[in-house]
Amino acid sequence: MTTSAPPRPPQSPDRPKRRRGDRIFAGSATGAGIFILVVLAGVAVFLVAESWPAVVAPAEDVSGGEGLTSYITPLIFGTLLASVIALVIATPLAVAIALFITNYAPRRLAAGLGYVIDLLAAIPSIVYGFWGIFALAPALVPFYAWAERNLGFIPLFAGPASATGRTMLTAGIVLAVMILPIISAISREVFSQAPALHREAALALGATRWEMIRMAVLPYGKSGIIGGAMLGLGRALGETLAIALVLSASGGITFNLISNSNPSTIAANIALQFPESTGLQVNTLIASGLALFVITLAVNMLARWVVTRRADFSGAN
């Protein structure tokens, strides 16, 4: 191309020139932003509209015969319980793995280990379900029996211990393994970006490696850890197949983690009940889906609030 551009007319000083590339990019970016909001609003509208019949229906017509609230409450409880167990197990483990990979492991081992952890994320959830039901659950049966005998005074281990191992705790552990790669990948990313400037500042003050991590790496990565944990929580809340396979659900609300009678979770319950549901039963399931939608939204907003609360001290400035 050898053609030269014609001389441009002088710009009027009060109006900045907008180039075409800028306009196209601004337009498509804005469009994408609006699109995601429209999709979100569409999902919300659908959920509300479809669950409305279940909300206004007389209590005895709803599945279970005692009204929508008493149908959904145990499900919400089960969902939160399984997810919290998963989070409590997975977060410290994931942070420790990420610290090991970024700060302690020799470089070659670090690369290999990081790759293996990432691979965990690629395993389909049905496989986790099979692993949970055929390998993990039987393996945990002796532990549950032991826990009932020795830790039975704690309500969490009141028993009677499950003979199949398909308990809330097993489900939580399976979920923990599933969300581990998400949390550790994000933690690893933020830890490896902890500025050398601040790591050296800590070391030059006479910090040991662990003290350096506490002073310069963990505070810097805190928002990343929280973000990763919340992403993991999002996956745990919505996880369907693994829970549906592993958990022996009978309804009710209980903190007893090692027995055969457990509350189901929203997503697993929908998956199990949906094929045999008609009419108002479908509306009831969709209403439970709406509850899950609201919970997930609330969790994300909470995470965002936690992350931005001390923005001054975040290290991003």
Partner: protein, 259 residues
């Protein structure tokens, strides 16, 4: 508290690469020693080897000896962590911990020593260190604000306060003013002149006027070519270096006829 440092036959390697070769020098206590020389000549590497900070990079090692008041810093049973507690360092870019307040930044080093300190003792230490760094009057009303809310020059003085809070014997400064404006630079230079009453100070600088203004002794580093190790070409009193140096290379460098 200020201690003397004797370096003999020091070679510094990164892996198999010899970065600095054959340094012999004695650094006097209660004085400022400046290290000058072109970029890449090994003066920062040498500075970082004094408190074993260069070991942060994998594969870094030294041959030879660095002795501080009779204590071999590279002895077999010497923990680099302890060396760094005795030899503080200030870096080229101000690096206060962004997640800590001004107060916590100054107290950070003391808290590392795992001593339980009373609140009043910590308050006193923070005030004493900030006064020592000529920063107290500017920050005393906002000690709970993040260190990153200060200006560049203030941040650098905060880093100096943090370094002197642990009462080190030696203070190493790696181009401490190169990111600062002339007024902040002047403030730091004044501060250095005060601090040399209590500490041994070694400063790497690209600013030859700065070396001439603040230091008693000056060392000139140079290298013969890319890939060659850096060497300490000349080490003499600052006045002599800048008026009548022994080596032609030194004269060429300080008069700008270099390279």
């Amino acid at each position: 508290m200020a201690k003397r440092i004797d370096v003999s036959d020091l070679n510094i390697y990164y892996g198999n690469f010899l970065a600095v070769e054959g340094v012999n020098v004695s650094i006097e206590p209660r004085s400022i020693t400046a290290l000058i020389g072109p970029s890449g000549c090994g003066k920062s590497t040498f500075l970082r080897s004094i408190n074993r900070m260069h070991e942060v990079l994998p594969g870094a090692r030294v041959e030879g000896k660095i002795v501080m008041d009779g204590q071999d810093l590279y002895g077999a049973d010497v923990d680099p962590v302890n060396v760094r507690r005795q030899i503080g360092m200030v870096f080229q870019r101000p690096n206060p911990f962004p997640t800590m307040s001004i107060y916590d930044n100054v107290a950070a080093g003391m808290r590392l020593n795992a001593k339980k300190m009373k609140k009043t003792d910590t308050d006193e230490l923070v005030e004493r260190s900030l006064r020592g760094a000529n920063l107290w009057n500017e920050v005393k009303d906002r000690l709970d604000r993040p260190g990153s809310s200060l200006s560049g020059g203030q941040q650098q003085r905060l880093c100096i306060a943090r370094a002197i809070a642990v009462e080190p014997d030696v203070l190493l400064m790696d181009e401490p003013c190169s990111a600062l404006d002339p007024i902040s630079t002047l403030a730091i230079e004044d501060l250095m002149t005060e601090l040399k009453e209590r500490f041994t100070i070694v400063i790497v600088t690209h600013n030859m006027q700065q070396a001439a203004r603040v230091s008693e002794q000056t060392g000139f580093f140079n290298l013969n070519g890319v890939g060659q190790p850096g060497r300490l070409i000349e080490f003499n009193p600052t006045e002599k270096i800048f008026s009548n140096p022994d080596e032609k290379a030194t004269e060429d460098y300080i008069s700008g006829r270099f390279g």
